[in-house]
């Protein structure tokens, strides 16, 4: 795919502050915005400072296309389900042999990481949540309280920004119909269940704006283009902090997923990439990242170290999606299910999206960028 060849160029043009990759720079594909800024400060720069050479970043917003490039990046910050799908397709290097350092207190890595953190080709660094948020100025005294209100156009009218992926939208549609969390993926596995979820999403058609880049829902909420939006909890948190955005997070129904580091099969600098993973999944960097981004660290030792936000001084523990207070009704994304059904579910979703936008959706021009690899 030619897009990837142009990526470094695109990057230098579009991403402010990103260095033009030097010949030997470690190329990391990651998610831009405040998230990448925090990674640069907490992970990239100290790693560079230890004499490991430069790190250059390329933008990434999910999907497996990036792995099909002729010269793929050395590392990708990828969701677990996509990492598992990519691993299955032979697009990633195995990380089974990679030994990770113990915690500062000497707890071996395998006891320190949360269960399910390591898969054959992926190592979890954070647990992030896709949440529903709303603009608190959009409604009067009655505000959305439950996930069901995302689908309640009568009480909470106005456009909604949703991520252009099946994950999250399907789960929320079924949850709003009363399907218990434990049954979500069984129900979604049936033709009838998938239809039911899409039918429920159809009730919003005409009010949906699709987003792909993590900063888009934040902007749409801030500008009032939408009244409710799904998005990454860390982005919403930072928007409130940085520009006092009137955004409120609805923790009900938050979709938790593991975010991992993976090394593409064709990576040019696998050894340094491995060294980076060892560094980036250490207790201290994970804790510092959590303090900046409000994402749950994958190590228990890091979770205990999470303190206050370095600038704002707020207690960050309660901002994490994994905090018991927020996680009461959390949906745990079934990464294995998505990994195995990735293309079929995505195809189905895209067909529905086209049909639905063909009817009346705003932003019907948006094309799928996360389609099946060619």
């Amino acid at each position: 795919m030619t897009v990837s060849r142009a990526l470094p160029l695109l990057l230098s043009l579009l991403v402010p502050g990103a260095a033009t990759p030097a010949e030997d720079a470690l190329i990391v594909a990651t998610w831009g915005g405040s998230y990448e800024a925090a990674q640069r400060e907490i992970l990239f720069e100290p790693f560079e400072g230890e004499g490991n050479g430069k790190i250059a970043s390329v933008p990434y917003s999910g999907g497996l296309d990036i792995l099909h490039a002729e010269d793929p990046p050395d590392l990708v910050d990828m969701s677990m389900s996509e990492a598992m799908a990519a691993c299955e397709a032979g697009l990633l290097q195995s990380l089974e042999g990679l030994e990770l350092p113990p915690s500062a207190g000497g707890i071996p890595a395998r006891d320190d990481f949360l269960p399910g953190s390591r898969e054959r080709c992926a190592i979890t660094h954070t647990i992030f949540a896709t949440v529903i948020a709303y603009n608190r100025q959009a409604f009067g005294s009655v505000r959305p309280r439950r996930l069901q209100h995302l689908f309640d156009l009568e009480e909470f009218p106005g456009p909604r920004a949703l991520q252009a992926t099946p994950a999250g939208n399907l789960e929320w549609a079924l949850r709003s119909l009363g399907v218990p969390r434990a049954e979500l993926y069984s129900v979604l596995s049936t033709q009838r269940g998938l239809d039911l979820a899409l039918d429920q999403l159809d009730t919003l058609s005409g009010s949906i704006r699709w987003w792909r880049d993590g900063d888009e829902p934040v902007k749409m909420l801030e500008t009032g283009e939408v009244v409710m939006a799904s998005g990454f909890n860390g982005r919403f948190f930072n928007a409130r902090l940085d520009h006092e955005s009137p955004i409120e997070i609805l923790w009900d129904g938050q979709l938790q997923e593991r975010q991992t580091w993976v090394i593409p099969r064709g990576a040019a600098r696998p050894d340094r990439a491995r060294e980076f993973i060892r560094y980036a999944t250490g207790t201290e960097p994970l804790a510092r990242l959590a303090e900046r981004m409000a994402y749950g660290p994958a190590r228990r030792s890091a979770l205990r170290l999470v303190g206050r936000h370095p600038q704002a001084g707020i207690d960050m523990g309660i901002q994490l999606p994994t905090h018991p207070y927020n996680a009461e009704s959390a949906i745990k994304k079934d990464a294995k299910w998505y990994a195995q059904t990735y293309h079929r579910v995505l195809d189905r979703f895209e067909v529905w999206r086209k049909r639905s936008s063909g009817r009346k959706t705003l932003g019907a021009d948006q094309e799928s960028r996360v389609g099946p690899p060619t």
Partner: protein
């Protein structure tokens, strides 16, 4: 665990000592049985889930399996091979069929300590295979049977008497239900309503402890998701409570059709010119073929149950279609010899019927009625309760699983008439009908069943007077005198019974006439298999001391004395009354 020691009887022994020992015994009994049954039940449910994933039965596994030739192939092959294995397993059971809750009920109701471990084990494995390979059968019947059989095994190990043994069996059942449903109160009620069929304070304590142990295991040790979960549902108008009994009566009719269908396929299967081993395999193949188009009929049907609760998941004609298919699939699988219960399919069928009823009403009242889920739950309960013969259990399951009082009252309203109607048409439950067809009729109460389950074999005495068939009256008189008896049986040269001479008839008879001429014309005889119930009925118009007991060749075996029979009758009923009413 050893047998609790008997209470000390020395001079130091006090009432409080005895109380402490009794309480300790009850606690040990309940907790131990509860723990064992709960672990077994939990492992069973987990194993079904694992097999369904592995064998591509569960929707999740089917979805994740790559599309292609494998999925349809597995859909047909897995139930077929599962059926073959089930058929082979059942050859190792004497009756050539799986045991189930009916056996537990029979053992407890007739106070016969005969819940053998071997068929229970084989039936348990064959149920696991059936459920694991996607047969349309339930999982709770096998759980009840396994819990009960485990209790019976413990009772034998503890060498307890029949009354205590029955309580331990009930403990096993209560714990299995409490674990599987995550509903301890329903477990206690089920053990009382279906198994014990009386309420004794002495049984309540251990049964309750067993159910609570099951609940703790279900939650703390190996958490399993509940069968169904309903987050919120409200009855919109008070007048709708008038609709629920109507739904209940209609549901009872569905239950009757369902139960008749199972028995009907069973009758048909018996006449099928096919070796018994092959019948479940044939059933599996048929099921798999239909499942290619309607995967809903595979397995327990948890997803179908879920869809029945959601407005718009099924069109009305789909509700009817899936209902009929599920009913036929279950009757087909159970009738053809798959091993499993009738409860879970009844839940699915009932909820579909309730949803159908509710959506029909919705059209009639232009959407003015309660949410669909209310009717689905009511239909579910009202079809299930007559099938298992346990209205209170079914209602309490709703309460424990939903926590909604309003929904529970709605369920109660629908069940109120359902069991009455179904019992008039069909019988108290599917299990009772099975037992009736096997010769144990519980419909006239427990005392009849108990008396009919005991034979007079053990009461036969050879302490009687006999004389040769050609003997004179004087010889017979002499024989009676020697045996101190008031009657004398005449026996021919090959030991065959000829007749009985009663003392009151020969008082005036001359000595040298054939004794045979004085035998009664319609003398009653019994055989060793005559039940106490039949014997008591035969003796209604009998005057005399004892009745001859003969074998199949009419050879005299002995005499059963009326006094022994009456004593046995009183003992049986006294044991039953003690089990049901005594407090110590």
């Amino acid at each position: 665990m050893t047998q609790p020691s008997p209470p000390p009887t020395g001079p130091e022994s006090t009432g409080s000592d005895r109380l402490r020992i009794q309480v300790a015994r009850v606690v040990a009994l309940g907790v131990l049985t509860g723990l064992a049954a709960a672990l077994l039940a939990n492992a069973f449910v987990a194993a079904i889930g694992w097999l369904n994933e592995w064998l591509l039965i569960s929707p999740r596994a089917r979805m994740m399996a790559a599309e292609g030739v494998w999925l349809p192939l597995a859909t047909i092959a897995v139930p077929t091979l599962g059926g073959l294995l089930v058929g082979y397993l059942h050859r190792w059971i004497r009756e050539q069929r799986p045991h189930g809750p009916a056996e537990v009920i029979a053992a407890v109701q007739t106070r016969q300590d005969d819940l053998p471990a071997r068929p229970a084990l084989i039936s348990g494995v064959s149920s696991l295979v059936s459920l694991g390979s996607g047969a349309s059968v339930g999982q709770y019947g096998p759980l009840v049977h396994m819990g009960g059989s485990l209790g019976a095994l413990l009772a034998r190990l503890l060498r307890s008497d029949v009354t205590v043994g029955n309580i331990i069996v009930a403990c096993g059942v209560a714990s299995a239900i409490a674990t599987a449903f995550n509903a301890p109160i329903a477990g206690i009620l089920f053990a009382h309503e279906v198994i014990l069929r009386h309420f004794a304070l002495r049984a309540f304590a251990p049964v309750a402890l067993a159910a609570i142990t099951g609940y703790v295991v279900a939650n703390a040790v190996l958490a399993q998701p509940p069968l169904f979960q309903i987050e919120s549902a409200a009855v919109r108008h008070i007048w709708e409570f008038g609709l629920f009994p109507i739904l209940g009566v209609a549901s009872a009719l569905v239950a009757v059709v369902y139960m008749h269908a199972i028995l009907g396929v069973g009758r048909m299967a018996r006449h099928l010119p096919l070796p018994a081993v092959g019948k479940p395999a044939l059933a599996g193949m048929g099921l798999g073929l239909v499942a290619l188009w309607f995967p809903e009929i595979l397995g327990i049907g948890a997803q179908t149950l879920r869809f029945a609760f959601i407005e718009g998941a099924f069109a009305q004609w789909e509700l009817l279609l899936v209902l009929v298919l599920k009913l036929l699939a279950t009757a087909w699988c159970l009738g053809m010899g798959f091993s499993g219960g009738v409860f879970s399919p009844a839940l699915v069928i009932g909820s579909l019927f309730g949803a159908l009823f509710g959506s029909g009403l919705g059209m009639l009242f232009a959407g003015g009625t309660s949410e669909l889920v209310v009717f689905a739950v009511c239909g579910m309960v009202a079809v299930t309760a007559p099938v298992i013969g346990a209205p209170l259990t079914a209602v309490v399951i709703v309460f424990e699983l939903t926590g909604s009082y309003e929904l529970t009252i709605a369920a109660l309203a629908s069940v109120a008439l359902a069991n009455l109607v179904a019992s008039r048409i069909f019988g108290r439950s599917f299990f009772d009908r099975q037992l009736r067809d096997r010769g144990l009729d519980l419909s006239r109460g427990r005392s009849k069943a108990l008396l009919a389950s005991r034979t007079i074999g053990s009461l036969v005495s050879t302490h009687h007077a006999t004389a040769p068939a050609d003997a004179h009256v004087a010889d017979a008189r002499q024989a009676m005198q020697t045996a101190d008896a008031t009657s004398c049986h005449l026996v021919d040269g090959t030991g065959r019974y000829v007749g009985t001479l009663r003392l009151q008839r020969i008082l005036q008879a001359p000595d040298h006439v054939p004794a045979r001429d004085y035998c009664g014309r319609d003398e009653i005889v019994m055989n060793a298999e005559t039940t106490v119930w039949d014997a008591m009925n035969l003796l209604r118009d009998f005057i005399g001391e004892g009745v001859a007991v003969v074998d199949a060749d009419n050879r005299l075996l002995g005499t059963v004395f009326e006094s022994d029979l009456i004593r046995a009758y009183l003992d049986i009923l006294e044991d039953m009354r003690r089990e049901e009413h005594a407090t110590r």
